[in-house]
Each structure stands twice: as structure tokens, then as C-alpha cells.
Symmetry: none
Subunit: 235 residues, 2 copies
């Protein structure tokens, strides 16, 4: 799942910097110096997000964003506008156009990445909403429910009650079954970069998840890979 981001920015240094930070975050960056170039790119590659930086005179930028929002093909692409603090008129204009986010300069790379991710996350609710069925478990992100199918008996699937964190953990593990995740990766995905938790804390949540699963007889689904991390596996 590669995510492509179009940066419209004429200042080369800023363009370069943003692009670099995006790459570092595992996102693909396309760069355009002006509106025409941007349009040409959009014709070929529909980006997942557009960042409109310091291009063109102010109102033109808003106009550019507006056009994207009007045209059917590009309508659903989220837009982030970078704007200077003093250009209040523009900020207000953007509110009218209903851009997804406005980041006021100056900003840190970290902030930029964080907000890009936030916007992308918001956009992908359906993607995360798929029901996952694995190893006799059914997890439904939409209803936030987990059911366990017990083979021997013909009983209705038993509902499992999980705390919020345990649910997210199970969800992530199931969505990436078989793959081993280090504690650092789990921490990144479930808690994010800004929150500091002890690595042992993850063990504790793994245990909580396990004990809950054990109650319905699902014993070996969450496995330890010693020295590395954890894995959801159907064997």
C-alpha cells in the first residue's frame, strides 16, 4: 500500500526538505513547482494527498485548491495548505473552500508528518473497517466487536469483551497476520511517536489479550518470537 503525495511548492529548499521528510516516513513524494506542472502530474497519477505550499500569489492558491475540490476526479483528495501566520485572509478563505488542514508556518517536520498522517487516517475509515476473520475469530472494527467460533460445539459464536487497547492490538495483529512485529513497531502503530511507554507495557497488553482469548479456547493465536516480538498466527 504505497501512498503518494503531491507537493506544490516553488521554493526548492522547502520542497526538498518536505520531500525528504515524507520519504523518511515511508511516503512517496511528487514535486511540482507551479500549478500547471501540478495539473500535469495529477492527470497521470492521482495522488492520495496534495500539499499546497508557497506557490503563486495567495488567492491563486486558494483558487487552485477550489478547483481540485470541484472537479469530480480530484474531489476526494485531501488537501493541506501551508500558510504564513500573517496571511489571515487566506486562512479564512481556506476555511470556505474546506481544505482538510491548514498548517501555519513555521512548522517542524514532525508536525507536518503527524498532520499528514492524521489527514490520511481520517480519509481511510472504510479501509480499516473491514471485518477480519481468522483462526476462528471474527473482528468487526465497525461495531468494535470480537466473536469467537468454537469448533466442537454448534453454539453461537461467543462474544469477547476487550478493552480499547487490547482491541486495537488484536486488530493490528490480525490485519498483519503471520508477520512478526517488534515492540517498537507495535508502539509506533498503537501509541504513536509522541507517547512514551515502557516496552514491557506491550508484554502486559499481550498477556491481557491472551488471557481473554484463552477464555474462549483460543490459545496459540498470539505467539512470541523470542528476542524479536509478537505475531498473530493461525499455525
Amino acid at each position: 500500500m504505497t501512498i503518494t503525495i503531491l507537493i506544490v511548492e516553488d521554493e526548492p529548499i522547502l520542497q526538498e526538505t518536505i520531500s525528504l521528510n515524507l520519504k523518511r516516513a515511508g511516503l512517496i513524494a511528487l514535486c511540482a513547482d507551479n500549478a500547471e506542472q501540478a495539473n500535469r502530474i495529477i492527470i497521470n497519477v492521482l495522488p492520495d494527498l496534495v500539499i499546497i505550499g508557497g506557490v503563486l500569489p495567495n488567492m491563486d492558491r486558494v483558487e487552485f485548491a477550489r478547483r481540485l475540490k470541484i472537479e469530480e476526479r480530484t474531489q476526494s483528495i485531501p488537501i493541506i495548505i501551508l500558510t504564513a501566520r500573517d496571511q489571515e485572509s487566506e486562512i479564512i478563505a481556506n476555511l470556505v473552500v474546506e481544505v482538510e488542514d491548514v498548517i501555519i508556518k513555521p512548522f517542524s517536520p514532525h508536525e507536518l508528518i503527524a498532520r499528514i498522517k492524521a489527514v490520511l487516517r481520517r480519509r481511510l475509515p472504510e479501509m480499516a473497517e473491514e471485518i477480519i476473520q481468522l483462526g476462528g475469530l471474527k473482528l468487526d472494527p465497525a461495531t468494535h466487536r470480537v466473536h469467537a467460533y468454537i469448533k466442537d460445539k454448534q453454539l453461537e459464536p461467543a462474544e469477547i469483551t476487550l478493552g480499547p487497547t487490547e482491541f486495537r492490538l488484536l486488530h493490528f495483529l490480525m490485519a498483519n497476520k503471520e508477520r512478526v512485529h517488534t515492540r517498537a513497531q507495535l508502539q509506533d502503530r498503537l501509541w504513536g511517536d509522541h507517547v512514551f511507554i515502557e516496552e514491557r507495557t506491550i508484554d502486559v497488553y499481550i498477556r491481557r489479550l491472551r488471557t481473554t482469548l484463552k477464555v474462549v479456547g483460543k490459545e496459540n493465536l498470539v505467539q512470541t518470537v523470542r528476542g524479536i516480538g509478537y505475531r498473530f498466527s493461525v499455525e
Copy 2:
């Protein structure tokens, strides 16, 4: 694996606080009050990360970061700058210098640690994830699993359990099959430069790997090249 962090900060209280929090997180903290002192430390000990805090007049801090990023020896050291929200010019300047992260004061110790760890984590290159199939063995880095296909029988491939080091060793050998690796090379690739181990230790791990493989009938895959080192070969 000890990680050393250099803190450049003239405010004693802040210095102390940061240093304390780093220690609690298992990181080694070196402190410098000013640029000269920092340079002197860097000459002796190459830190894994530099935190530039409230030292010197503003632009000098950026200059300090820039110098580190220019000099070859220190180029790859990630830098985190602590900056006050109102010093916009500096934040922008840092973007240009391509500092790894800018943390805006005030910040919580938790946030600091989290972001330090995030930066350090990002620095690690991602391991190759390709599945390697060789000589009746299948090694999958993503799931961290090794399977052995036994020819005679039509059985399902048997799973092999390896310790972390044995796994890395096998992975490396398989990824560079047929090529002979000296013990020094293996040591570099699997343990890194800063860890001292006896050369004999590698022999021991080779043996451990061999015995595990022998259990599933894979006997001659890891071969000795006398006087040189070891090799993974399919004959």
C-alpha cells in the same frame, strides 16, 4: 548495545532533568554547556544522537547543527533541537539544515524520550524482507520462520526453531550463499563494530546452527573453509 546521547544545554536544571530522564530510559547522557565543550566531547566519543538545547544565541545553534551535518564524521548523527515556540526563524532554519526533529518547548519528559526513540528507530535500516529458498530451506524474514522441506517424505515442511542470533546468522549466510565469510566479516555484519566477541564464539554459533539443521536432515549446507571462514552452499 549502549546508546550515547550528547546534550548541549547551558541551563543546569534543564540539563540535569534531561540527563536524568535519559538515564532512566537506559540511555547514556553526556552533557556540554557550550559548543566548544560539545566539540571536545564529540572528538572523543561519537554520540548516537545530539540534542541541542538552550545554548548560545539563536543562529549559532543552527550554525552548530549545520556544522555537524557538514562534517563527514558527524554527518549521520541525528540531531534534535529544542526550541521555544516564538523563535520562528529558527524553526524554519532548522528545516533547511535538515535536522531530524524539532521539539517545541515546553515538552514533557515523556514526549522527549518518545521522540528520541522514534528518531533512533528511524535511523535503523529496514532489513530485507524477501523470502529466501535454498537447499530445501525456506527462510521468511517477515514472519521470522524457517521451514525445511524433506525430500523423501511428502510431509509438510517442518518448522525449525532458531534463536535470534542463529536466525540472523542463517539469514546472512543464505542471503550471501556460496560466498565464504571470514569470522571478522560475520562478526561485523551480525554483531556490529562496537561489540567485542571472541572469534571462537562464531564457531559456536555455527555449530548451534548446524545441529539444529541436522535435526531436519540438512547436513552439509553450512560448510567450513579451513583457514578462511564459513559458507552456505547447496553443493
